[in-house]
């Protein structure tokens, strides 16, 4: 490949687009739709992020209020891939119920499965998560399972039929970045299904470092929505995910604890 072609290829394309359960996606960045100051800001941020997959939650219609909360009044389902979550569910049966309701909305049979085990940390109940993953996979759902960074749980989720496993970088909404790169790397190396890191990314460098571990993608919400300028942060996250992906594919130089000069050591002037 000519040098110029190589440069443009590296700039413009990912040699392997993200594919989950046979479905090809145009971006490795997935974004949530919660916590924005306004729906207009949310739409602008999502556009700036370049994301195709956008997550939504299932909730009761508020019969006494304006219907502005309905996300479909703002998001074009032909332009985005709606991924319903089961956020707020604290046991397998609730999560299964929410997933079934989401599927009945008629867009797809995909679900970002959350079974939360602890109110304060929002860490997953991995036992309930495994049960719900199995049940929903048996019903034909494409389950993307939000989990912790434990390898054995991730392997069991894959066995249970998850089409992607979503380990956290750090707790939901914490913005702490990736706390255990070794665990994330190990999960990626051992699983066959895509690994999408979900939760904890706080700024662009966090996203870049996550992608440098070789994972298939990132899902984030608060890292964009809670920025001072969410639209600009969304653009920064887009760049960071792409940069991290290319850095991973490029293969980083080995770390050395000694300096090695970059400039020639010969040809110095005589004293």
């Amino acid at each position: 490949m000519a040098h110029a072609d190589l440069i443009s290829a590296a700039t413009l394309t990912d040699p392997q687009p993200l594919v989950i359960a046979g479905h090809e996606f145009r971006s490795r960045l997935m974004v949530g739709t919660g916590k924005y100051a306004s729906n207009a800001q949310m739409i602008d941020a999502i556009e700036a992020s370049g994301a195709e997959v956008v997550t939504v939650a299932v909730r009761r219609v508020d019969l006494d209020r304006s219907k502005d909360e309905a996300i479909l009044h703002h998001l074009d389902p032909d332009h985005f891939f709606l991924l319903a979550n089961t956020a707020g569910c604290f046991n397998a049966s609730d999560a299964i119920r929410y997933a079934r309701l989401a599927r009945a909305a008629g867009f797809n049979e995909w679900v970002k499965l959350e079974v939360i085990g602890d109110q304060q940390s929002l860490l997953p109940d991995t036992i309930g998560l495994l049960q719900a993953t199995k049940t929903l996979a048996d019903e034909g759902f494409k389950v993307l399972a939000y989990t912790n960074d434990d390898l054995v749980t991730a392997l069991k989720l894959e066995d249970a039929g998850a089409v992607a496993v979503m380990p956290l970088a750090s707790p939901i909404g914490s913005g702490l970045g990736m706390l255990n790169p070794y665990a994330i790397r190990t999960i990626k190396q051992r699983l066959s299904v895509p690994v999408i890191v979900d939760a904890g990314v706080g700024t662009a460098s966090d996203a870049c470092i996550v992608m440098e571990q070789g994972v298939d993608g990132i899902l984030m919400n608060t890292g964009i929505a809670a920025a001072q300028d969410p639209v600009r942060m969304a653009a920064a996250m887009k760049g960071a995910v792409e940069a991290g992906r290319h850095a991973y594919l490029a293969g980083r130089m080995p770390r050395r604890e000694v300096a090695v000069p970059s400039s020639p050591t010969t040809g110095m002037l005589g004293s």
Partner: protein, 82 residues
């Protein structure tokens, strides 16, 4: 029907008392699910309805689905989330 803890008032003639999203609601006798959604100004295509624990997946059935006393309906939709 006592989720709010209030005193349950018997249905008057010509009305049906049911629960919608956890709250008591009184509708005219003979209303279908489509009638209820229309009165709530909801587009059936953008909501999902669960009746007595069963998801109603066939929206074309809403116009012929007669609501009954003590029905418990959950009407949900997609909202912003992560």
């Amino acid at each position: 029907m006592t989720e709010s803890g209030g005193i349950v008032r018997e249905a008057m003639a010509g009305e049906v008392v049911l629960a919608v999203n956890g709250a008591e609601r009184r509708i005219p006798d003979g209303w279908t699910l489509a009638d209820l959604l229309a009165s709530l100004e909801l587009d059936a295509r953008t909501v999902v309805v669960e009746r007595n624990g069963t998801i109603l997946r066939d929206r074309s059935s809403f116009a012929s689905l007669d609501l009954a006393a003590d029905d418990s309906l959950e009407i949900v939709h997609f909202v912003g989330g992560g």
